[in-house]
């Protein structure tokens, strides 16, 4: 990437972070989060529309198709901010559907989705902890987040080497819901009916899921980063034995180790995003970088949020302490779009051996 393009990219990232702060401020608005959790549909459709207005849902969709045409650097920056803010709106899932609809040329549904007028969820998953898309016609589709807020489902059906995409309206769908730890829900859809809106190759499908995995890694980065910031605040202020507990060396050293993990997570996510934004990066290299980033983000986010609870002591174990919201979000996100173990196996398969 040339220096000029790099500068443009950095500007886009800065702008997107600034605009995120307006709708989903990092530290603030946890009252909103609490009000929405364990309610249906678990997010605020008005905020979803705002996100559409900001161009976030179609951030990665080419401008000529009504999107913002921005890169993964910008998308990850946005996802990080939303993760830090605990925003329950399913941006990564919506963006996945937008990308698939755009690639399939399904203009109508795409327009409504990227405008935030509708939520379209891609019903690709048939097995827990999986990352492949069998596309079995009758198979139940699992783990659809906030499915009771969706207007339609995008169901890939295997067709030869690729997929045909079925758009099934949510109305009348056979959908069951289970609550999730973060106050949202996972829906199980038994696909039925709907209309074909286009076709996709297997490679297109995989690349789209990889982007969703990287977006999820960025969400996790935001979650851990903010949880850590809150924990540092607590360490600086909470007194025990006549001193702020952050002055105790054992806790200082633990905080330092967590900081290293967060820094590695950030470097991993951002370098993977950078690679995605380089037109000339080989697919295997991109796949390896994304796999590494998702694995790191999942493990680090769970580590950091667990330790955040521990460092908060008793208060961290109460539901009224906000720090617990971060642990719960990490628990839900960590295994979405592939577990850490699965992604490490993908990394090993994709990445040629180190030279030394």
């Amino acid at each position: 990437m040339s220096a000029m393009l790099e500068d443009e990219r950095d500007d886009a990232i800065r702008m997107i972070r600034d605009s995120a702060a307006g709708i989903a401020p990092r530290g603030g608005d946890r009252k909103r989060i609490r009000a929405l959790r364990f309610q249906s549909p678990g997010f605020d459709p008005a905020v979803w529309r705002q996100m559409g207005e900001q161009g976030w849902i179609g951030l990665r969709v080419p401008e000529e198709q009504g999107g913002a045409g921005l890169g993964m650097g910008a998308f990850c920056a946005l996802a990080e901010e939303l993760g830090a803010a605990l925003a329950p709106e399913p941006l990564v899932h919506g963006a996945l559907s937008a990308r698939l609809l755009a690639e399939a040329g399904a203009t109508g549904p795409l327009e409504r989705l990227v405008a935030g007028e509708a939520l379209v969820l891609t019903a690709w998953q048939e097995r827990a902890g999986s990352f492949d898309v069998p596309g079995t016609p009758e198979a139940p589709r699992l783990f659809l987040p906030m499915a009771d807020g969706a207007q339609s489902f995008l169901v890939p059906l295997r067709q030869g080497e690729g997929f045909s995409l079925i758009l099934q309206p949510a109305e009348g769908a056979d959908l069951t819901l289970e609550p999730t730890q973060d106050g949202g829900s996972f829906g199980t859809l038994r696909p039925r009916g709907g209309e074909t809106v286009g076709t996709l190759s297997a490679a297109q499908m995989e690349a789209a899921l990889e982007e969703a995995a990287l977006g999820t890694a960025a969400l996790l980065l935001g979650v851990m980063d903010q949880a850590f910031a809150m924990t540092l605040d607590y360490l600086r202020t909470r007194q025990q034995f006549g001193k702020p507990i952050g002055s105790f060396q054992a806790l200082q050293h633990r905080a330092a180790d967590l900081k290293v993990q967060i820094a590695l997570g950030r470097a991993s996510v951002e370098s993977a995003a950078m690679l995605c934004d380089r037109a000339d990066a080989p697919a295997a290299q991109r796949r390896a970088a994304i796999a590494r980033a998702k694995a790191r983000a999942a493990d680090a986010a769970l580590l950091v949020t667990r330790q955040a609870i521990q460092l908060h002591g008793g208060i961290g174990y109460t539901d009224e302490a906000d720090i617990g919201l971060y642990l719960r979000r990490a628990m839900v996100l960590a295994n979405q779009f592939g577990t850490a173990a699965l992604h490490r196996r993908r990394f090993a398969a994709a990445q040629p051996e180190v030279e030394a």
Binding site: Q125, E178, Q240, A250, G314, Y317, E320, L333
Partner: protein, 381 residues
């Protein structure tokens, strides 16, 4: 009265096993959270009928009179069978304290009501400003005539909503070192000025409470022992029960559920899983061996040393690591609020959350390491 101590260990163990296997309510086995009194009262009545409410109390006071060794067998068998812990602070904490430090009148008044299940006690030690640093507590009791007037707040009071009495450490003297000037007071929770507020925990259960005291009048005779000696009394009672914070039960139970989850998720036979699972199994077995060395100390009739902190430190860590692996292999199911497929045995997120506080309560892992470093390893400062 049966002299249980005269029985062989094997006979007594068999007796306990028969009892729980024939009489313990099946639906109460291995509950996912601490039972409220109402949830467990059914079992209490069975135990009461058997005369087994207070294993450690002397027989003349209505207890079973078990020595430490037999008490451990009892608890081992309860744990093995998944018997739930009832609100038992009266039996375990207050009873022994009254027996050792109380007056005849206090014993006569309070002990029978504990045995009868009429008084449910909770323990008021921790305060918002005094978590790991318990001695810095500030709930104050000022003697005015025949009454103490109590003001302040307790926190992490287990199942206070179920209790009608609370025993508290309160500050009665602010001069001197902070461990001094603390007294032990029994407070009727129906007294005006006592407010209980349940705290919803990370498991969304209301096991803990805050208890507020606003000019609560407590009769002077509810003071146990001498004034300003509460701290040393409470510490003296930290007896062999400390071993139970290090019991292998939680980890053993969690490990069995890890296996079920691994089988359900289809990863049980994968070598990567087997390696990690086997490491955890070895950890558990080694933990059991370590636990046994402390049980042996009790069997010899000796007191536990500060090194018992190792047990709690390791068991809580192990329990957490087991549940972390559950989360890893559970895939998206690890994000579910409720058990998978309605099967209570398949609940990675629930077990994971349940494991979180074990490194915080009962002396956090940081506190345990400090005890080990100073009292056992004799490191300076």
């Amino acid at each position: 009265m049966t002299d249980y101590n005269a029985m062989t260990d094997e006979d007594f163990r068999a007796e306990v096993r028969r009892f729980v296997e024939s009489e313990y309510p099946a639906h109460l086995r291995n509950p996912p959270h601490r039972l409220h009194w109402q949830e467990g009262e059914e079992w209490f009545r069975i135990v009461q009928k058997k005369g087994w409410v207070a294993p450690g109390w002397p027989q003349e006071l209505g207890g079973m009179g078990l020595d430490a060794s037999k008490q451990i067998i009892l608890i081992e068998e309860y744990e093995r069978y998944g018997v739930a812990r009832l609100p038992d602070h009266g039996v375990i904490m207050l009873g022994p304290l009254l027996i050792r430090f109380g007056t005849e009148a206090q014993r006569a008044r309070f002990l029978p009501r504990i045995l009868a299940g009429e008084d449910i006690w909770c323990q008021g030690y921790s305060e918002p400003g005094a978590g790991s640093d318990l001695a810095s507590l500030r709930t104050e009791a000022v003697l005015e005539g025949d009454h103490y007037v109590v003001n302040g707040q307790k926190i992490w009071t287990t199942l206070a909503t179920d209790a009608n009495w609370i025993f508290c450490l309160v500050r009665t003297d602010k001069s001197g070192k902070k461990q001094e000037g603390i007294s032990f007071l029994l407070i009727d929770m129906k007294s005006p000025g006592v407010t209980v507020r349940p705290i919803i925990n990370l498991g969304l259960h209301d096991e803990f409470c805050e208890v507020f005291f606003d000019n609560v009048q407590v009769p002077r005779e509810n003071l146990v022992g001498e004034p300003n000696k509460g701290w040393s009394m409470a510490k003296a009672l930290l007896g062999f029960e400390r071993i139970f914070l290090g019991s292998p039960r939680q980890s053993a139970y969690a490990l069995s559920r890890l296996r079920m989850l691994a089988e359900r998720m289809g990863v049980y036979d994968e070598p990567e899983f087997q390696e990690r699972y086997t490491k955890l199994r070895c950890d558990l077995e080694d933990h059991k061996a370590l636990y046994e060395t402390f049980v042996a100390v009790l069997r010899r009739g000796e007191p536990l040393g500060a090194d018992v902190s190792m047990l709690k430190l390791h068991q809580s860590d192990l329990f957490q690591r087991i549940t972390e692996l559950m989360l890893e292999i559970g895939g998206e199911n690890a994000g579910l609020l409720k058990p998978m497929e309605g099967n209570r045995d398949l609940h990675p997120s629930g077990q994971f959350i349940e494991a979180r506080p074990t490194t915080i309560y009962g002396g956090s892992s940081e506190i345990q390491r400090g005890i080990l470093a100073k009292a056992v390893l004799e490191l300076p400062g």
